[in-house]
Amino acid sequence: MFDLLREGLPLFLVPQALVLTMLGIVAGLVIGVLPGLGPLMGIVLMLPIAFHLPPIAAMGMLIAIYIGGSAGGSISAILLRIPGTPLAAATLCDGFPMAQKGRAQDAVGLAVAASAIGGLVGGLILLFFSPLLAKFALRFAPPEYFAMALLGILTIAIVSEGSALKGLLAGALGLTLAMVGTDEFTNAYRFTFGNFKLSSGPHIVAVVVGLFALSEMFFQIEAAGFLARPNVQRLRISFRALRLLGHHKFNLARSALIGTFFGAIPGAGGDVSAFISYATAKKLAHPNEKYGEGAEGGVVATEAANNGTCGGALIPTLTLGIPGDASTAVLMGALILLGFFPGPELFRYHPEIVGGIFVAYLMGNVILLVVGILLVPLFAEVLRVPKAWLIPAVLLFSTLGTYALQSSTFDLWVMLTFGVVGYVMRRAGFPLAPLIIGMILGGVLESNFRRSLLISRDGPMIFIERPISAAIITIDVILLIVIVVSTIRSSRKRGSVRTEEEPAR
């Protein structure tokens, strides 16, 4: 554990990595504050820039955006009663009433501080458990990797918004996209239609930017209200929240642990953990605390949990190569494109990279605590910027970032195509996260499937002859049964008109 930190520390303690992590926290908070955007959008927007950087500086920046974005959504939830991200949906239960009672300053301070400390707890658990899990995963061979990749896709499909059937279809589309290009075993061109620009498949960043950023811009324009300036309370810098947080030590620790636990389960996500943590805190609280009417404990519980989730979600991502949600899927994609494939081999052959990521994650949370509180007035001001200025800027940044990947206008057409696909999928209630996870895990799934069959003497029986593989395949089958049953059950209900657009996930 400490060896990893020792190996990674020198890579992180360089000015570029430190500055970019700090900027990542600021960018993440700003993006998290803006309703409709969120940590995923922040990571997606900065992803193309990350490829021009050394690995730890790049991952430090992206992880900082993940952390900052997860915390930033609480600020708009508290000040406007609009959660900047779904992660902060539970925060408004008590955050907004606190603001109405004239305690917006305390609520925002508590949210930022609880997020940072919750994230740190998640980071310590990440630091402790990841090497153990990675050591266990060293026993994995192709059949186990195949079963794990399948588990990752099934889990994300089942827990994503919308029906599991749609989640599975989206995941299958991701698997299909991963097939496009040159087959690694035969060197045959698959589904390229004679276009050499597709010989490596569509660039994942172009697909991600299109699906999430472009479709989101379309939704933002469709929602109108381009010049609206919300009436936001002015805030000032205050460290009083740290003292207030001292009154909620147990709540803070419990919520961070709940968040980390749910984060480590692929697909569960920060919003689920925030609501469970809130419900637990409310149940265990003294009636005088008056949850739902502006209780400090409510803000602490939700924010500590949703940032604890970040650390938890990185555990399966780094050790097994199974991302917990769309944000960690994109982080994993970034790591792969930087030349490092997550999994036990990463811990064995590149401990300095794993250690650097751990240090970046822990330091990111420390920076969040300080910078988050110092820049609170700025974030309140960000909420006053009309959408009319933001939308073209985000669109241009997405375009340039995608172009910069390979200096190719072809990638821009890929981006636009997937922008349209993403919009149609979201309007039809398809989750986008399984598509991305399918695209990232598709290569792992296929290569390990074919390798397993190659080393097998009994064909597909290899998947159930090996104990670990058999255990994971059993879980896969159980999940499939759950999906079939839930699909049949939901088929009995008739349609209802969708009234509110869910953010992309």
């Binding site: 589309l173 299909t176 075993f185 469709e222 340039l400 636009l416 149609v424």
Partner: protein
């Protein structure tokens, strides 16, 4: 017909998902077979895994179609315009034209026009939109061209400002 209208976006998405297995089987039987990569053991058969995924996808698409026909989808997705649908479509059209023009006009000519049109479309006054368009274009070009050394499209006029 009413049911089709109620679930219009679902049907459009379904058409995309239903077409994919058909394309996979077609390509496996033609392009991959021509490359001698559609038969044999797991190493030689590049069509084995795609066919499995396509089969699963076809079953899933059939199940979704059945649910749509029976109206058993939890949320309807009618093809209804929203307050900003028209500007959103115009913005998409402008952006598509931008992508067509970009290789010929170059980044530094095409982008200020794109930004101006988008700002203006979203309700910002023409002078502010023009200033904003030029400013945003220059700022992003500085970051990508100047700091990250990305060669932005120079177009027929070979314009590069920061490299």
């Amino acid at each position: 017909m009413q049911r089709f209208r109620d679930f219009a976006f679902d049907w459009i998405a379904w058409a995309i998902f239903a077409a994919i297995p058909a394309v996979i089987f077609w390509q496996s039987a033609t392009s991959l077979a021509e490359q001698d990569a559609a038969s044999g053991g797991p190493m030689e058969n590049a069509a084995l895994y795609p066919r499995i995924v396509a089969s699963i996808m076809a079953v899933l698409a059939a199940a979704l179609a059945l649910r749509l026909v029976l109206g058993r989808v939890q949320q309807r997705s009618p093809l209804e315009a929203r307050a900003g649908t028209r500007p959103a479509l115009v913005a998409t059209g402008v952006f598509t034209i931008y992508l067509i023009v970009l290789p010929y006009a170059g980044f530094h000519l095409a982008t200020p026009v794109l930004c101006f049109l988008l700002f203006w479309l979203l309700g910002i006054g023409p002078v502010a939109a023009l200033a904003g368009g030029i400013g945003l274009s220059l700022a992003t070009a500085f970051v990508f061209e100047g700091l990250l050394n990305v060669v932005l499209p120079v177009g027929a006029f070979n314009i590069a400002l920061f490299s």
